[in-house]
Symmetry: C2
C-alpha cells in the first residue's frame, strides 16, 4: 500500500530518510507491502516542493548534495516550488503522514510543536525525531492525536533508531516498566570513555570529541546534561505517563569530572557514566541526570564510546537492556522510517 | 476482545503463563482490550481439562501447587476431565490459540512438532517456547501456518521473554540483519562468571550452578553447547531464512576451559564467553558455537551471571544489543504471553 509522506525539515535526518526510502524501496515493498510516495518537502533553508505525483528522490538528494535549493527541481511549475512555510505546506499537501525533522528548541518546542499540532488537526499522522515537542508538550499532542484517531510517534527522540519505544510497546508489552536508567548522550559517553581508556583529562577529551564531530563548538547541551535531561523527561512522559518539566529534574553534567575521579573509580572497580534515571513510585515520577559510579557488573558499565543504552526495570522480565547507536544520519533517518512503518502496520 | 486459549503442557512455563494471565487480567483488558479465556489444558502428567466456558485459573494453580491433578477440578463433568492426548484435545477445543509448552526433544522435535502441525491444520494459531520444532522443522511449520492464514510464534525459544524476535520484527523492521552473536545459555555464562570473578575452577563452578538450580544433574546439554546450538539454528532459520541442521554447525562447549585459561585471558584484557554466532554471506549461512575471548569493549563481554544477550549486526543501525533474562518461570511465561498478544494485535 502506498503511503503519501510530507517532510518538514530536510537536513541531515531528512536526507537520511530519503536515502533509505530510495535505496530500500524494493525491499520495503516486498517485505511490508509498503510503498513511499514523498509528496511534499518544506525546509526553511532549502525551499519547498509540493508534487502530488511524488518527488524523485535521487533528484532531490543530488540537488541538496550540490548545495542547491529545491527551487531548482527540474520541470516543476512555479507554484510547486514556491517557498512555503511548513504550516502552509500542511494545508496544501495530501500527505497522510508528516515527518517532522526540524531543529530542537528545548525551551519552547517551537516552531515544531505548531507544525505537529496543525498536521494532526488536518488529519495527518505525525512522526518526529524532534525532542522539543515530545519533552514539553507530549500529553497535549498525544491527546490531540488520539482525539483525531491519528498516531504521534517519536522513536527518534531518544537513542535515534535504537528502538526503545518500540521495545516497550511491542516486545515488552504486558510488562509494567517501573524504572529506566540509561546512557542517553553519546558525546559525554565518548569523553568519559577516552578519559578512562586513554588517561585523557576532560579538556583534551572534549577537544577530541569536537574534532571528530561528536561535540558541537558550544558543547554545553551535551556536557552539562541538558540533552540527556530532555530524553529522561520524554521517557517519563511516555513510559510512566508523567508530566515532568525539565526544570523539575535535577541535572548535573560531566564538566566537573576529572581524570583523577575517573582513575579513583577505576581503582575501586567502578566506572563513571552520565546516567539519566527515572522511576515511578507511589504514582509519582522521580528523575535525575547525573554522573554515577557504576559497578562493572551493571549492563550500562560496558557501554563504551559514543554508544547509548537503556535499562528498563520491568515486573515480569526484570531488567532488560538495549544498546545501540544514539545518533547518526541513517540511524535517525531509520527512526523516522520505523515510525512510518508502525503507522503503515496499523 | 476475548481470546480462547488452549495449553499443551502445564509445567513451570504453563503455570507461569496462567499466573500472569490471572494477576494481570485487569491490566491486559485495559491496556490491550485483551481478555484471556483458557478453555483447555492437556498435560501428560497432570491430566486434562476441557471447559468451553473457561477454566478458573486460581483453582488450577492451587491444585497443581498442591501436587494434585486436573482430574480433581471441582464440579467438572467426567468428560471434561478425561485424560486426553494433546492431539485429541486439539480436536475437542474451540481454542483459537494453542500454547505449546512441552519439553524439548532436540533430536526429533516430537511429540511437540506433531501437536503444532495438528493445531495449525485445525485452524489454530500456535505459540511455543519449545526449541525442538523451531530448530528442526521451522520452515515446514511456518509454511503450514502461512498456508492456513495463521501465526506460528516462537519468542520463548531463545532468551525466554527477552524479545529478540519481536525486536527484529518490530523495532528493527526495515533493517537487514546480517549477523548475530549471542550469549544464549545462562548456565555456562554463570559458570564462566564465577571462574573469573571468584577464581573458581570449572568443576566447583559447575557444582555451584547445579546447587543453585542453574544446571541440571546431567549438565551436558548446557556445558557442551547443545542448548546454545539449538538457539543459533533457530535464529538462523528465522532471521536469515537458513535451513541449517544442528549437525551442520561446529559446536564446542566450555568443559575444557580452565581457570588458567580464564585468568590468562583476563590478564590480556579479554573475557571468555560461550558465543553462538551466525552470519549470512553470499546467501549462505555460517554458524558456530564456541568459547571466545572477547575484548572488554564488546557489548557481550559485560554480560555477567545467568543473563543472556544478543547482538544483531544490521545495515542501517549497525550493532544493536539486547540483554535480559534467558530463563525462568515468569520470564518464559511472559514469552508465551507476548506471542499471544502479537496474535491478538493482528
Amino acid at each position: 500500500m502506498e503511503q503519501k509522506i510530507g517532510l518538514i525539515g530536510c537536513g541531515t535526518v531528512g536526507q537520511g530518510l530519503l536515502q533509505i526510502l530510495h535505496e530500500k524501496r524494493d525491499y520495503l515493498r516486498e517485505a511490508f507491502g509498503f510503498e513511499a510516495r514523498v509528496v511534499a518537502i518544506a525546509d526553511k533553508l532549502k525551499g519547498s516542493l509540493v508534487l502530488p505525483d511524488g518527488i524523485d528522490i535521487p533528484t532531490v538528494l543530488d540537488l541538496l548534495g550540490a548545495g542547491k535549493g529545491l527551487a531548482e527541481y527540474p520541470k516543476a511549475a512555479p507554484a510547486q516550488v514556491e517557498p512555503l512555510d511548513p504550516l502552509d505546506m500542511i494545508e496544501r499537501t495530501e500527505a497522510a503522514i508528516i515527518a517532522e525533522m526540524t531543529y530542537t528548541d528545548i525551551k519552547t518546542g517551537e516552531p515544531a510543536a505548531s507544525y505537529i499540532k496543525k498536521a494532526l488537526r488536518h488529519g495527518k499522522h505525525v512522526v518526529t525525531s524532534n525532542k522539543g515537542p515530545a519533552a514539553l508538550h507530549y500529553h497535549e499532542i498525544r491527546d490531540l492525536a488520539r482525539k483525531n484517531g491519528l498516531q504521534f510517534r517519536i522513536e527518534g527522540t531518544v537513542m535515534s533508531g535504537t528502538p526503545v519505544f518500540h521495545l516497550a510497546e511491542c516486545g515488552l508489552a504486558g510488562n509494567a516498566v517501573r524504572e529506566v536508567k540509561g546512557i542517553l548522550n553519546g558525546t559525554t559517553n565518548f569523553i568519559l570513555t577516552k578519559m578512562e581508556t586513554e588517561g585523557m583529562d576532560y579538556g583534551p577529551a572534549l577537544a577530541l570529541a569536537q574534532k571528530l564531530g561528536y561535540a558541537e563548538a558550544d558543547p554545553t547541551a551535551d556536557v552539562e546534561g541538558h540533552d540527556a535531561l530532555a530524553k529522561v523527561v520524554i521517557l517519563s512522559n511516555v513510559l510512566f505517563g508523567g508530566s515532568l518539566k525539565t526544570s523539575d529534574v535535577p541535572c548535573q553534567g560531566i564538566s566537573s569530572i576529572t581524570k583523577a575521579d575517573v582513575e579513583a573509580a577505576k581503582a575501586e572497580g567502578f566506572r563513571y557514566k552520565l546516567i539519566g534515571h527515572a522511576k515511578i513510585e507511589d504514582g509519582a515520577v522521580a528523575a535525575s541526570v547525573s554522573p554515577r559510579k557504576l559497578p562493572l557488573t551493571d549492563p550500562l558499565a560496558g557501554v563504551m564510546g559514543a554508544q547509548n543504552a537503556l535499562s528498563l526495570e520491568t515486573d515480569l522480565m526484570g531488567k532488560v537492556t538495549i544498546q545501540g547507536a544514539g545518533a547518526g544520519k541513517l540511524e535517525t533517518g531509520f527512526a523516522i522510517l520505523s515510525d512510518i512503518l508502525a503507522v503503515h502496520r496499523c
